[in-house]
């Protein structure tokens, strides 16, 4: 159910997704339980039990999953940089007609 | 048919066993059987004037499920939303004596026997839904809200 665009920009062009720091992650899976958009995927039988499976499902500017993370293992890109980037892409789109 | 929705309005009465069975059977249809897109309408909210519940029952086919022959859910649905498209009287299915048993049971104390009654009533609800005439659906879309869809 991912939205294909965000603010008129193709979602795939926007770098916004959680990044898991595996040196901190304890695989409690709280983030996965929280996120309704199936951004994460659980691999029970593997060493790395949690991966960011669908980065483009992640709602741009949403950071809510990181709040559920006890060990603080989830980070997001810089919001202002992302905002700027979206504006730039929109300008490019405009000038390309 | 996936677009079609049916409302179920159940009595949930607390004074006798029939209410408990109605409620559980309705939830069962909604949660487990999922044969059609069913929507449970909240009877108390419906009675208190909830616009969402009343409008739904006016637009979509709706059936009632009552625990005893007082048929409170059926009567109130007819009163506020017009005709209903089917009704179930649980006391007719599990027997008057059982349904009117005033020794109401809390959910945690339900026995296998009770759960069988729930199954029986749930399949009756499904049967009632499948008997709804296709005409009841015609023209029943949410175009009337002015949104232009």
């Amino acid at each position: 159910m991912s939205e294909t665009t965000f603010m008129g920009v193709e979602r795939a062009k926007i770098d916004w997704k959680p990044t898991i720091d595996y040196t901190k992650c304890d695989f409690c899976m709280e983030c996965d339980k929280f996120c309704p958009h199936q951004v994460f995927e659980v691999h029970e039988t593997e060493d790395i039990k949690l991966v960011v499976k669908n980065p483009t499902n992640c709602v741009v500017f949403c950071r809510a999953c990181s709040k559920t993370c006890g060990p603080d293992a989830i980070t997001f890109p810089d919001k202002n940089a992302t905002t700027q980037r979206i504006k730039e892409i929109r300008k490019e789109m405009e000038s390309n007609g | 048919m996936s677009e079609l929705k049916v409302g179920i309005i159940s009595c949930s009465g607390e004074e006798c066993l029939g209410g408990t069975i109605s409620r559980l059977a309705t939830r069962k249809v909604l949660e487990e059987l999922k044969l059609v897109a069913t929507v449970t309408l909240c009877l108390p909210l419906y009675l208190a004037g909830g616009v969402e519940e009343r409008d739904f029952a006016k637009v979509f086919p709706t059936i009632s499920v009552d625990g005893c022959d007082k048929l409170c859910a059926k009567r109130s649905t007819e009163k506020y939303s017009g005709k209903i498209n089917g009704f179930i009287d649980v006391s007719k299915i599990i027997g008057n004596e059982t349904a009117l048993n005033t020794k109401v049971i809390r959910n945690k104390d339900l026995t296998d026997e009770h759960l069988q009654m729930v199954d029986q009533v749930a399949s009756e609800i499904v049967k009632t839904i499948s008997n709804i005439s296709p005409d009841s659906y015609s023209g029943k879309t949410f175009g009337g809200c002015g949104c232009g869809s």
Partner: protein, 130 residues
Amino acid sequence: MYKKVKVVPCSGIGKVFGLMAREAVLKTVLELCPEKSETVCLAYIVTGDIEVKEKIEGSNCITVDGCPKMCAAKNVSIAGGLVIEKLRVIDTVKEHKGKKFGSPTQLDADGEVVISEIAAKIAKKINELN
């Protein structure tokens, strides 16, 4: 003859809070105060049938609503009941942040904890009356 206090839950079917109201009331009238209280079907109250009217009119009533829409409280007072206490499940739920209480069909262990607290509040009110 002493008239039993009527304890009326909303029993809303769409959310766990409705089931919690219902279970808290059943616990009160079946286990905690069977001598002093009884429940009445909300849907029956609304029909306005003479039998139920006689039961409710002028009687002390305690309503237990799942959500802030207060369906039970509204309907009981319209029917002429003297609502001496309006309880809301969510008020007790708020004291249990982050817990899961179950579904509209079945309560979890934490749901049972909360309904016991609500039942205790109802019972306290009933016992204060006499």
